[in-house]
């Protein structure tokens, strides 16, 4: 079972709440996904409104909210937004998103590291969205991060695991859970992410924008389960050719 900051998750599929055609559609899809950690953009939620349309559709005992800071451009704004989220949504979990570049939404590594340090000191459970940078992951561990969330490709691009070589490095050396966060466009991408040993994946666009989000949510649920099972069962090595003879070492058998 996956544990992040002492919290146990039986589902390794985390989900987002954007881009759905209605809050009711979002709720149905998230229930079908079995997801237990659901990220919500602070900018979309009215923290002063008890009946906020998004939050009120997420009130299920198995779902925990993971507010995100999407929209902030630096560490200072992120820390302030996290504090507002903690107060408004009553959780000290925060998905740290600092992408000052609104075109490709690429995360700023310098500001993210700074904000992680500060938020960890303030008692937050920080899950930072980052590029697939193995060194940055180590620096974030030192700063007190609860997990790392490297991208597979650009947010919302559906391009899959373009960064796979670096994701494998991160997974092999990480001391905190690795959640692959962005670009997962198909259940096969999610399965692949789990097969290479990711602890979890976060999916939003591919579910929300599909023609049947509820069915797609279930497809992702199954893919994540299958990928994890395959990882635990140890996949066989991939050989580019058949291994019939040993021309270099057969002399040792003579």
């Amino acid at each position: 079972m996956l544990t992040i900051a002492n919290k146990i998750f039986s589902s390794r599929l985390f989900t987002g709440t954007g881009k759905f055609s209605s809050a009711a559609q979002m709720e149905k899809s998230l229930l079908a996904s079995g997801s237990e950690l659901v990220t919500v953009a602070l900018k979309r939620v009215d923290l002063n409104d008890q009946d906020d349309d998004i939050v009120s559709h997420l009130r299920h005992s198995h779902i925990s909210l993971l507010p995100n800071t999407s929209g902030v451009r630096n560490a200072k704004e992120a820390v302030f937004a996290a504090q507002m989220a903690r107060e408004g949504l009553e959780t000290n979990w925060i998905k740290l998103e600092i992408h000052p570049d609104p075109k490709y939404l690429m995360p700023d590594p310098i500001e993210t590291l700074k904000a992680t340090e500060e938020l960890a000191k303030l008692g937050f459970i920080v899950l930072p969205y980052i590029h697939a940078d193995p060194v940055l992951c180590r620096r974030l561990e030192d700063a007190g991060t609860a997990a790392v969330m490297p991208l597979g490709s650009a947010i919302g691009s559906n391009k899959g695991l373009k960064t796979i070589d670096f994701l494998e490095m991160i997974i092999s050396q990480s001391n905190v859970p690795v959640i692959i966060d962005a670009g997962i466009g198909a259940p096969s991408d999610a399965a692949k992410a789990m097969e290479i040993g990711a602890d979890a994946v976060l999916v939003n666009t591919a579910i929300a924008v599909s023609r049947d989000p509820v069915a797609m949510a279930e497809a992702f649920k199954l893919a994540v389960v299958a990928g994890r099972m395959a990882f635990e069962a140890r996949l066989g090595m991939i050989n580019s050719q058949a291994v019939a003879s040993s021309p270099l070492t057969s002399f040792l058998n003579d």
Binding site: G18, K19, F20, S21, S22, A23, L42, K43, R44, V45, D46, L47, T69, G71, V72, R73, K76, E77, F80, A81, M84, P100, D101, P102, K103, Y104, G156, S157, N158, T205, A208, V209
Partner: protein
């Protein structure tokens, strides 16, 4: 490195650009369609007459790209006209100085009466609009307005006269999020004809406004031309050139594009160039195929039927229930309007139309806590 857009703009000729757009062929269009990353030459092909037969394919692609990036949601906003005082003469505008009508600038109390009605409609994003009257409607006035209304809206946009860098720097901390400044036309000579008097007659000052906004660190800026003044294809090419320049230079800002078609007002100019509905769809799709990330916005100038269909093709933001006169919502519904609106449906009716088409209406997409206000 280029310091302002003028330097880049000066290396282009209107006539040459125009000629090269009209010279594009079906082969150019097909090549542009086949790519995943498109450049300005591809854009020329997509807005050219040669692309007309490909409209349905362009629309399919535009819809898919927009859904991927923005999802099944539509941003809703509403204009709040603060003043119709204006010292400019603009041949196409109802607020033009030579249009002899009673002028009005809202007082703080009147603004709050208007705000109450707008909030009642459900809005959280407001667009402040004025003419250009630097004696009464200036930076201090805007600052007071922002202070007054920022507790009631999480997203405030402004479409007022171009200001200096220092003015923008002063207003942003008071909650100014977005500034729209339309060039009207990139045709330098005809720009002078349409703006014979007032500060607005300075083409360069207007052209360099987005640079000043970028330097001030504005969150979002909106560009566009007034369609009908000049050949729209050439004007929109320059809009795209401007956008590309700004995106590279001021990479922390977001961008939106508008494509207002000239609407009638009492005693106003007839459009020199007509743009058909078909051509406007072509333009919207071409913008989307050029740029997957840019926001595309459409106002109540457009008809009900047109808007009902266009929301599926690439648009990301629309206005509804708009009044284009100061005091139009509550204080003085009969005052002079800037242009006649075409789609008079209420925000609730628009939200219902969107719901039926599978889109959720987004009223709130910003929070003041994100900039530590």
């Amino acid at each position: 490195m280029i310091n302002t857009f003028s330097e880049l703009f000066d290396t282009y000729s209107w006539e040459e650009t125009s000629k090269s757009i009209y010279a594009k062929t079906a082969a150019d269009v097909e090549q542009a369609m086949g790519k995943t990353v498109r450049n300005l030459e591809d854009f020329k092909a997509l807005i050219s007459p040669a692309a007309a037969p490909y409209l349905e394919q362009m629309a399919q692609l535009s819809r898919a790209l927009t859904l991927k990036r923005f999802g099944k949601v539509m941003q809703l906003y509403v204009p709040l006209y603060l003043s119709n005082e204006c010292n400019n003469i603009c041949t196409y505008c109802g607020f033009s100085y030579d249009n002899k009508v009673r002028r009005k600038t809202l007082s703080p109390m009147e603004i709050m009466q208007e705000v109450a009605v707008i909030k009642e409609m459900g809005y959280d994003h407001v667009l402040l609009v004025t003419g250009e009257s630097n004696q009464s409607v200036h930076t201090d006035y805007f600052k007071k307005v922002l202070e007054l209304i920022s507790p009631h809206f999480s997203h405030i946009s402004m479409e007022v006269q171009p200001l200096d860098l220092e003015d923008y720097q002063e207003l942003i901390p008071f909650g100014l999020n977005t500034v729209l400044v339309y060039q009207e036309t990139y045709h330098r000579e005809d720009y002078k004809k349409h703006h014979p008097k007032g500060k607005k007659s300075n083409f360069e000052y207007r052209l360099e406004t987005p640079d000043r906004l970028g330097k001030a660190g504005i969150h979002k800026m909106g560009l566009g031309v007034l369609i009908g003044l000049e050949d729209w294809r050439t004007d929109c090419f320059f809009t795209a050139l401007h956008l590309g320049y700004l995106e590279k230079k001021y990479w922390k800002s977001k961008y939106s594009l508008s494509f207002p078609r000239l609407r009638p007002f009492s005693g106003g100019l007839e459009p020199k160039v007509e743009m058909t509905d078909r051509e406007l769809v072509q333009l919207i799709c071409a913008y989307r195929l050029l740029n997957e990330e840019v926001e595309l916005s459409i106002s109540t100038r457009e008809s009900t039927v047109f808007r009902d269909h266009i929301v599926n093709l690439g648009i990301t933001a629309i206005s509804a229930g708009s009044k284009t006169n100061p005091g139009g919502y509550a204080v003085e519904p009969e005052s002079l309007e800037q242009f006649e609106i075409s789609d008079e449906r209420s925000p609730a009716e628009i939200a219902d139309m969107l719901r039926k088409q599978g889109y959720e209406t987004v009223w709130k997409d910003w929070d003041s806590s994100l900039i530590g206000l």
